[in-house]
């Protein structure tokens, strides 16, 4: 049976005194991580909370990982949230999950109390400080209680709920279980060639599933993860110096983070000489930037990863084995072991090589669906129509094809979902939020892939000037979903069919940008 804590229980003994997770505020060894997690688990159990969601609201730190593990020790599942999320979105998450307990640190506890008072949340939960529930030794009764919880665990029990953008304005809580996480980590670790000497440089926030790719392999192999200070991603020369200084040899970053480093001409000043594995994914990576990286780190293995949160992270991989010219598509490659990819064309048939179809995924990696949302779950987690028995598959909404080289290639989305700075965003969610602002009648969000900008056009009356719309959006949207440009417009252009003409809007935007450029 697969259980994610099995990893830590081995490395807490074999690598007891080695630093496991290192952040700005300090580090935890494997033994410390194990002790704090178990104590946290016992404290949660003491409160009679079992098989329930527990919100973890902390700054990115080794302690936050211990809190995640503690929640799982208690037989519960964690819901990570972050101070960067606007209060409105956190409220939606609380309403969906109804947590009994919220684990905070001393920076987030005051925020939570403030929001709860201001917005009069209709939620009853206990908020505790991680430091208060994780210190000290276990009592004998705690050891027995944790052992009993473990004995009753099965591998389809939930581990976490992470929230991702939803097209109707309500985020979706993707729920993963032990076997989906363990299956993913086993396959991913093989692809990334992780061992105890691996030093990860983590970029992704801990409130996304993307962080699993460092957290779990670290616990499995007794490796080490550095949480790179977020501010360094603004200052790429310092970022590369940080990698070198800490001998980081393995990074899995969103393509935009790598693209930023290359695009700002960082390698003219500094070379990343410790990297051995450079994995990237979650969005299209320009071949121009990729090639700058390959020149700067010629000994590193480059790996393209692809996969949706609903299949617990990544599902396909491609180890770069040839050169790519500007404009070439980088394949998403082949599925991980124990993962199967199916393509369906518009008629439900398997398209011939080179022809597009919707990418569908089947295997143990599939999540448990969306939390408390059977309707949206059953729309995308469906019976595989090609199987004459019960066989679930996840419809990604991505269009792809299989090339003559046997690799899969990503083509486009079927809907208005975009990838921006590595985040998955439903443009329609931005529109829903905008149209809730008083005075706004209609709104359309578009994405300019060339400049990687989100642009919002809206029709509104005099009570909704641009400044008011921008201010209102800021309180309701996560920072990464904020439009970079907002334009009031008398009427939104329509297609002959009566839909908003997004192509026309994008052209209009590009025209206005050209007009303001310095000649």
């Amino acid at each position: 049976m697969a259980h994610i804590l099995d990893y830590l229980e081995v490395t807490a003994i074999t690598h007891a005194d080695k630093p496991a997770f290192i952040g700005e505020a300090g580090f935890l060894t494997f033994a410390q991580l194990h002790d704090r997690a178990r104590k946290t688990g016992a404290e949660i159990t003491d409160r009679g909370i079992y098989k329930k969601p527990v919100v973890v609201f902390m700054q990115k730190s080794a302690d936050m990982v211990a809190a995640f593990c503690g929640v799982v020790y208690a037989g519960c599942y964690y819901v990570p949230i972050d101070a960067e999320m606007p209060a409105y979105r956190i409220r939606q998450i609380f309403e969906t999950t109804q947590p009994a307990l919220v684990i905070c640190d001393d920076t987030t506890l005051p925020l939570l109390s403030e929001w709860a008072q201001e917005k009069a949340w209709d939620a009853s939960y206990e908020a505790v400080l991680f430091d208060d529930i994780s210190a000290g030794a276990l009592r004998e009764s705690d050891v027995t209680a944790l052992a009993n919880i473990r004995r009753r665990a099965i591998d389809t029990d939930a581990v976490y709920v992470v929230f991702t953008s939803g097209s109707t304005g309500m985020p979706k809580g993707v729920t993963a279980c032990h076997r989906s996480v363990v299956d993913y980590i086993e396959q991913l670790s093989t692809v990334l060639e992780v061992d105890e000497h691996t030093v990860f440089g983590n970029q992704s926030p801990l409130y996304l599933d993307a962080c699993l790719k460092e957290l779990l392999p670290t616990m499995k192999y007794g490796a080490t993860t550095y949480f790179i200070p977020k501010s360094l991603f603004m200052f790429p020369v310092k970022l590369i110096e940080y990698l070198n200084e800490h001998h980081i040899n393995n990074i899995c970053w969103v393509a935009s983070a790598l693209g930023l480093v290359a695009g700002l001409n960082t390698f003219a000043k500094v070379t990343p000489y410790t990297l051995r594995t450079i994995a990237f994914g979650s969005e299209v990576f320009a071949a121009k930037h990729l090639n700058q990286w390959r020149t700067a780190a010629p000994d590193a293995q480059f790996i393209h990863l692809y996969g949706p949160t609903e299949a617990t992270g990544m599902s396909l991989f491609y180890k770069l084995d040839r050169d790519f010219a500007e404009g070439d598509a980088i394949p998403i490659g082949r599925p991980f072991a124990n993962t199967d990819i199916l393509l369906f064309d518009e008629n439900g048939n398997e398209p011939p090589p080179g022809q597009p179809g919707e990418i569908c995924i089947r295997g143990t990696c599939l999540c448990l669906g969306y939390y408390n949302d059977p309707e949206r779950t059953s729309a995308t987690f469906v019976q595989n129509p090609r199987a004459p028995y019960a066989d679930l598959m996840y419809k990604t909404g991505d269009l792809g094809y299989i090339g003559t080289d046997g690799n899969y290639y990503f083509l486009a989305r079927k809907d208005h979902q975009i990838k921006h700075m590595g985040y998955r965003i439903e443009l329609t969610e931005i529109e829903w939020v905008a149209m809730r602002i008083p005075g706004v009648q209609l709104a359309c969000a578009i994405f300019d892939g060339e400049t990687s900008r989100i642009i919002l056009y809206y029709m509104g009356d005099e009570t909704a000037p641009k400044s008011a719309v921008q201010a209102a959006l800021k309180t309701q949207l996560p920072r990464y979903m904020m439009p970079q440009a907002i334009f009031p417009i008398p009427t939104l252009p329509q297609t002959p069919g009566g839909k908003i003409d997004r192509v026309q809007l994008l052209n209009q935007y590009r025209e206005s940008v050209r007009a303001t450029r310095k000649d």
């Binding site: 501010s231 020369v237 700002l264 003219a268 000043k269 700075m421 310095k518």
Partner: protein
């Protein structure tokens, strides 16, 4: 022009007096990317990687001085 770009980004900030834009996390990594792009597009000034430092982005005055300096040396 630079001030307009900054005001477009955060209309609620008083750029005349704010000198800790980075330290207070008023400007984050998305903003830096946006600013570098806008400054290249609208002012025709390319900011090289080693000039991307907290000091250069902490205030309007510092960023303006950087842009002026790069423009003159171009």
């Amino acid at each position: 022009m630079l001030l307009e770009i900054l005001q477009e980004l955060h209309p609620d900030v008083d750029y005349a007096t704010h000198t800790t834009l980075i330290d207070d996390r008023v400007i984050d990594s998305y903003d830096i990317i946006f600013l570098v792009g806008e400054i290249a597009d609208k002012l025709d000034v390319e900011i090289p990687a080693d000039e991307l430092t907290p000091e250069n982005f902490n205030s309007y005055a510092a960023l303006n001085a950087l842009v002026q300096r790069l423009d003159e040396n171009a």
